[in-house]
């Protein structure tokens, strides 16, 4: 109960007050609650209070077999569901040492990168919306819609995909898909320039983001942050590069890093550049898509990973997404731990927020790109 005691407001100081931001608030991106201790507009303390979107995914994994958990995987983070769905497949394939045909691997990469772009687009839109700019939000959603349409055509769903299977993917891609994807790439390269003009070069936008919410590399080491937040601080770490999985080592792409020490503007530029790099990867993947099967020839009927611990990590749109599976050799995991980047990233808020203004809270919170159900799982 010690923690609850700390949450009781300090009523002795008449100059300060507490403000509950959330769980119902326009800018907490879902049901996150932040208890702010304020003096005027200045923040003295901030406690993120999580758990409002808890759906017990980890517990669900422990009472059903591996295949039955598959549809859950994309619900963990609904904004980059494809990456999470494929990551789960890859984790199981890694555990049972199942090889995936090359064509399936490349298709997975195309879909994963498309999903990464759509996730970043939604981030860009909602972030500028947090800062009070309405229009980029709709522009972002417009382009994201195109990606959803493309993914819809092969997966049948638009948000929570269940496209991966242990050993491959469910449906093969057709020429129509390839044409639409390459059309989108050409179109989106131009579009990114427009976003730069509308958002990145905007003076007010730069004022609101530059030198705001600096998350330095020291802090990052203490908290084990990952993803664009880490790269914005100047550390060129990307799971796709450092521990390549699923065939990413075949592709040529750069890991963008921030130049300003990890402020909100860095996190913006890193994500913008990541979208460009994703386009590069998709372009290469489209050019080298091999023929062949999309499912492994021999997939065991019952998935029984060898007894012991298995860990597999991917680079999701938000950072290092890891799955820690403890198996006792049966077809039901003993423990399935999901290491979600949003949870780790939001845990720095008590350190980063104090000293900033109330308006910076939404900027910083928006810039680390949290997905609340992914925090709560």
């Amino acid at each position: 109960m010690a923690e609850t005691m700390e949450l009781v407001p300090d009523a002795t100081d008449p100059k300060t007050y507490y403000l509950n931001m959330g769980p119902q608030h326009p800018s907490t991106h879902g049901v996150l609650r932040i208890r702010l201790h304020l003096e005027g507009e200045r923040i003295l303390g901030a406690d993120p209070i999580i758990g409002y979107g808890h759906r017990a995914h980890e517990k669900m994994a422990e009472n059903r077999d591996y295949l039955q958990f598959l549809p859950n995987s994309s619900r963990v983070d609904y904004l980059s569901g494809m990456i999470y769905n494929l990551a789960y497949c890859q984790a199981i394939e890694h555990a049972i040492e199942l090889d995936v045909p090359e064509r399936a691997e490349v298709i997975r990469i195309i879909c994963g990168e498309l999903n990464r772009i759509s996730s970043h687009l939604l981030w860009l839109g909602t972030f500028v919306l947090d800062l009070g700019g309405f229009t980029p939000f709709l522009y972002g959603f417009d382009d994201r819609e195109k990606i959803l349409d493309i993914l819809d055509s092969i997966t049948g769903s638009r948000l929570t995909y269940c496209y991966g299977r242990f050993g491959g993917v469910t449906m093969d891609v057709d020429d129509e898909f390839l044409r639409r994807t390459s059309d989108f790439c050409d179109y989106f390269k131009r579009r990114l320039g427009e976003f730069d003009e509308l958002v990145t070069d905007n003076v007010i936008y730069q004022q609101r983001t530059k030198d705001v919410g600096v998350i330095s590399s020291d802090l990052i080491q203490d908290y084990a942050l990952s993803g664009p937040v880490l790269r914005a601080a100047g550390v060129a770490h990307d799971v796709r590069k450092t521990e390549p999985y699923g065939g990413y080592d075949r592709f040529d792409f750069d890991v963008p890093v921030g130049q300003r020490g990890g402020d909100c503007f860095d996190r913006h530029t890193v994500r913008m550049e990541e979208m460009r790099q994703s386009l590069r990867i998709i372009d290469q993947a489209l050019a080298c898509l091999p023929d062949g099967p999309i499912m492994a020839a021999k997939v065991p009927k019952r998935i029984r990973p060898p007894a012991g611990d298995h860990y597999f990590a991917v680079e999701s749109a938000r950072g290092h997404f890891g799955m820690f599976i403890t198996s006792d050799g049966t077809d039901i995991p003993v423990r399935h731990k999901l290491r979600t980047p949003s949870f780790v990233n939001v845990s720095t808020m008590p350190v980063v927020l104090p000293g900033t203004m109330l308006a910076d809270t939404v900027a910083i919170l928006g810039s680390i790109d949290i997905v609340v159900p992914e925090i709560d799982r």
Partner: protein, 323 residues
């Protein structure tokens, strides 16, 4: 020239008619502006905006008003009732008085006061009392924060606004809006006072609490700022006040800097409204393009940039006129 008591005592049917006319104008104007705002934002954002009710969705806001009027007026338990209830009136009433000061065409004015400009600036700062009453009376932290921001912002931006207006007064040696507009028959004052015009327009946008200066109601930070606890037609009155305020700021800008009703070919009143709605379109364009400034940046922008610039402009104007 008739004086104040004479107007209210002597010609009260005229006063009544004018008041009704102004109320009618405010309502229709706000309805159309809200429709226009939705259409403009839709065009900027590559959407259609309202299309269903009436031609081009023109009657959409009328239906919205019907809905707002039909809503139950909820008064939360924790509010300070007198302040909470009077706040929408306090916000709206001064703006009503202001419209009677605006000359629309040569001689088309409710009453040509000698000190119209002073009255206008005084009345337009009155509505901040209503905003603060709303924030304070709501007894809600978000509303209070919004109200505090609104007061600080309005007081700060009043100063550059005044400083931008003074050069015009010095040039025309008049505080009457009608005379100021008449003095621009040859050329609009924006040609000789471009800096003052820009400062006036920026400060005026801030006075109306519209984006990028909408921090008192900053939706993404303060939910809805000072009117968080208001619903139904009480909220509608705040909305009405915002759009009326826009018209007033743009009307004054038109009179002071764009030459009022002067213009070739078209009749004067048409020119006047064209200029006013042109400026309103620019304000809408601001709102749908820019992100919001932060509170401290907003204040330093007023005190560090606008006020010094306006002072320099005033100084240069006086020196040039003296020479």
């Amino acid at each position: 020239m008739t004086d104040f008591p004479q107007i209210f005592g002597g010609h009260w049917p005229g006063v009544l008619a004018a008041t009704v006319a102004i109320m009618g104008f405010i309502t229709v104007n706000a309805l159309m502006l809200i429709w226009l705002e939705r259409k403009v934002s839709a065009r900027i954002q590559r959407r259609y905006g309202p299309t269903e009710v009436g031609p081009f969705g023109l009657l959409q806001t009328l239906m919205d008003v019907v809905k707002l009027i039909g809503k139950e007026l909820v008064t939360p338990d924790h509010v300070h009732r007198p302040l909470y209830l009077i706040a929408p009136v306090l916000v709206f009433a001064p703006l009503l008085a202001l419209l009677s000061l605006i000359p629309i065409d040569e001689g088309w004015i409710f009453h040509d006061y000698d000190i119209a400009l002073v009255l206008l600036l005084a009345f337009s700062s009155l509505n901040i009392i209503g905003i603060f009453a709303a924030g304070w009376g709501s007894n809600n932290k978000y509303a209070l924060l919004g109200a505090v921001r609104a007061v600080a912002q309005n007081i700060s931006y009043e100063i550059p606004l005044l400083l931008a207006v003074i050069p015009i007064v010095i040039m025309t040696r008049s505080l009457s809006l009608h005379e100021i507009a008449s003095a621009q028959a040859a050329y609009p004052f924006i040609l000789v006072q471009p800096l003052a015009a820009i400062i006036y327009f920026i400060a005026g946008t801030a006075e109306t609490n519209r984006a990028p200066f909408d921090i008192p109601e900053a939706e993404s930070e303060l939910v809805a700022g000072f009117h968080t606890e208001y619903s139904g037609m009480r909220f509608g009155v705040f909305f009405l006040a915002e759009f009326t305020h826009m018209v007033i700021i743009c009307s004054v800008a038109t009179i002071l800097f764009l030459g009022g009703w002067h213009g070739p070919l078209l009749p004067g009143w048409l020119w006047f409204f064209l200029k006013v709605y042109g400026l309103i379109l620019v304000m809408m364009w601001f709102r749908w393009t820019f992100p919001r400034l932060r509170f401290d940046q907003l204040m330093s922008f007023a005190w560090m940039i606008l006020v010094p610039l306006a002072l320099v402009n005033l100084l240069v104007t006086t020196v040039v006129l003296k020479l």
